[in-house]
């Protein structure tokens, strides 16, 4: 009797979110995958019947370069974010309570701040009349005619800027729980400073590292707004192609096919990380650190 009631209670509190997410998240995701196998109708909408033609059109010679660029930029962003986030997370974790809370607040604020505004702030800075350009030109580091905007470097810079808080938070959370006596013990046993860091600290925060890689790399693959605002034609990513198929030359099945590809690219690393984290740490769910 008690069991049945607890079961009913569980259903009552679970169903609202389960139903909502099934309707507005799971089903729409499945629809994308399904529409990738649909032909395009005359108006760019979804036609009748099933076809492999839409998927085949991904063989378009423009795409490999864009897909390659998307992957490279995402990997570069992830590496730079991790390299910056590890010392930052470590430093914050070792601060006293008061300063730690101030620093955390400073890291969290950009995470809450409008994505659009933060990209725009960089556009202003890198603009031909902007401060950075003038500064670099006055030092003769760049030519007055070089554009800092509309290239892959500008996109990479803003991607790092956007995703860095996501990398710092899980690494900080792991560094805070790390037992620093282990590093001291390693030093006492003759390890050099970098060995203590590399062989003891990094493996100790492994979980946080994996989460950080996941929450930077995956959203980075789907970046669309940053190249849209910062980049020119030679900095386009797969996200821009998807948006173009929707908003410019309306072709929903084609957009779906591209998204299906992106979905696949997103789920592979997710499953890999889930697997890696599970293997060593039991069944404790991932990523509480980053929320």
């Amino acid at each position: 009797m008690k069991n049945a009631r607890s079961h009913l209670n569980e259903l009552l509190v679970t169903l609202p979110s389960l139903l909502w997410l099934a309707i507005f998240f799971l089903i729409p995701t499945l629809i994308v995958l399904a529409i990738a196998f649909k032909p395009t109708d005359f108006y760019g909408g979804v036609g009748a019947g099933w076809t492999l033609e839409t998927l085949r059109s991904l063989g378009n010679p423009n795409y490999p370069a864009i897909i390659w660029r998307t992957i490279l930029l995402s990997i570069a962003t992830t590496i730079i974010c991790i390299v910056l986030a590890v010392p930052t997370g470590y430093y914050i974790a070792r601060l006293g309570t008061r300063w730690r809370q101030i620093m955390l607040l400073l890291i969290i604020v950009p995470f809450w701040t409008s994505f659009l505004i933060r990209i725009y702030a960089w556009k202003v800075l890198l603009h031909p009349d902007g401060l950075i350009k003038k500064f670099l030109a006055s030092l003769s580091i760049v030519d007055i005619h070089t554009s800092l905007l509309h290239n892959q470097w500008a996109v990479l810079l803003v991607m790092v800027y956007t995703f860095l808080p996501f990398a710092i938070l899980p690494i900080y959370a792991a560094a805070e729980k790390f037992d620093y006596h282990l590093v001291e013990a390693a030093r006492d046993l003759g390890a050099r400073q970098w060995q203590g860091f590399y062989k003891v600290f990094l493996p100790g925060i492994r979980r946080g590292l994996l989460t950080a890689i996941l929450v930077v790399f995956i959203p980075a693959l789907g970046t669309y707004l940053i190249p849209d605002i910062m980049g020119g034609p030679d900095a386009e990513m797969i996200g821009n192609k998807i948006a173009q198929r929707v908003f410019v030359d309306r072709n929903l099945p084609h957009a779906s096919a591209l998204s299906a590809l992106l979905t696949l690219a997103v789920f592979l690393p997710m499953v890999a990380v889930l697997f890696l984290q599970r293997k060593k740490d039991g069944s404790e769910p991932i990523i509480k650190e980053s929320a």
Binding site: T14, P87, V109, S114, L116, P219, G222, K288
Partner: protein
């Protein structure tokens, strides 16, 4: 033990990197010159001009309607979800966790496109209502995570004590659990509110004619000029966000 200076240096560099662009944007919103690199003296003229931009106010109104309603609904659903995740350890909850966690990680673009195709498939007109559905969907996950974090420090024996004293399950939840969880729930709601009011990518996909929100308006201003006005508008949004973060930090730290 001697400690390396490198972490301190990197941390300071990271903070400068984070805040320099934002700071320059805010300063420029008070710059009398139209151009960001020349200083024309302090002015509030751009804020005054903002006051007369009817379209911006209309967009702000739309954004507020959606942010308030979406955060209200997602707080209820997200809190229930967090409670279920924390209280029960069943296969159903594993599925639920996956459904709540995935939207946090997948690119916004994918969520935007899939929702657009969904609304097209069921023949729903794009507008404020579709934006509302979309926003609730991504806010649920954030609220659930914030509240779940809060629940982890919660001592459930208090609930059992209430039940021993004769309260039934629901009374215990509403009279004991809810008040104690309130700071976490409000923090989750504030996060949902700012995420909703700031969201561009997903909104852009599911917005229809006449349902322009503030970020969509800002986007077209970025694309088609009017920089000083964007600076002023962005500064206002930044202030709102800072306040929300500050209040929410205050609420979630209080108990520790």
């Amino acid at each position: 033990m001697k400690r390396s200076r490198a972490p301190l240096v990197v941390t300071i560099a990271v903070l400068i990197f984070f805040y320099l662009p934002i700071l320059i944007l805010v300063i420029n919103s008070f710059n009398a010159s139209r151009f960001s690199s020349t200083w024309g003296g302090w002015t509030l003229a751009w804020y005054a001009r903002l006051w007369h931009e009817g379209e911006i106010w209309h967009a702000m109104q739309n954004s507020l309607i959606i942010a308030v309603s979406a955060s209200a609904v997602s707080v209820v659903i997200g809190t229930l979800a967090a409670f279920a995740l924390h209280r029960f350890d069943t296969r159903l909850q594993k599925t639920q966790y996956l459904l709540i966690y995935t939207p946090l990680v997948i690119p916004e673009l994918l969520m935007g496109l899939s929702l657009l195709l969904f609304f097209v498939a069921i023949g729903m007109n794009l507008g404020l209502l579709t934006i509302f559905f979309a926003h609730v969907t991504f806010c649920i996950s954030y609220v659930a995570m914030v509240v779940l974090g809060r629940l982890q420090d919660f001592d459930f024996s208090i609930i059992e004590a209430a039940q021993d004293l004769g309260a039934n399950w629901w009374t215990a939840a509403v009279r004991v659990l809810l008040p104690l969880l309130a700071p976490g729930i409000i923090a989750g709601g504030l996060l949902a509110f700012t995420l909703s009011i700031d969201d561009f990518v997903i909104t852009f996909f599911v917005a229809g004619p006449g349902s322009t929100t503030l970020p969509i308006r800002i986007y077209s201003m970025i694309k088609f000029g009017a920089p000083p006005l964007i600076n002023a508008l962005s500064t206002i949004l930044l202030v709102v966000t800072f306040l929300a973060v500050w209040i929410s930090q205050h609420l979630t730290e209080e108990k520790r």
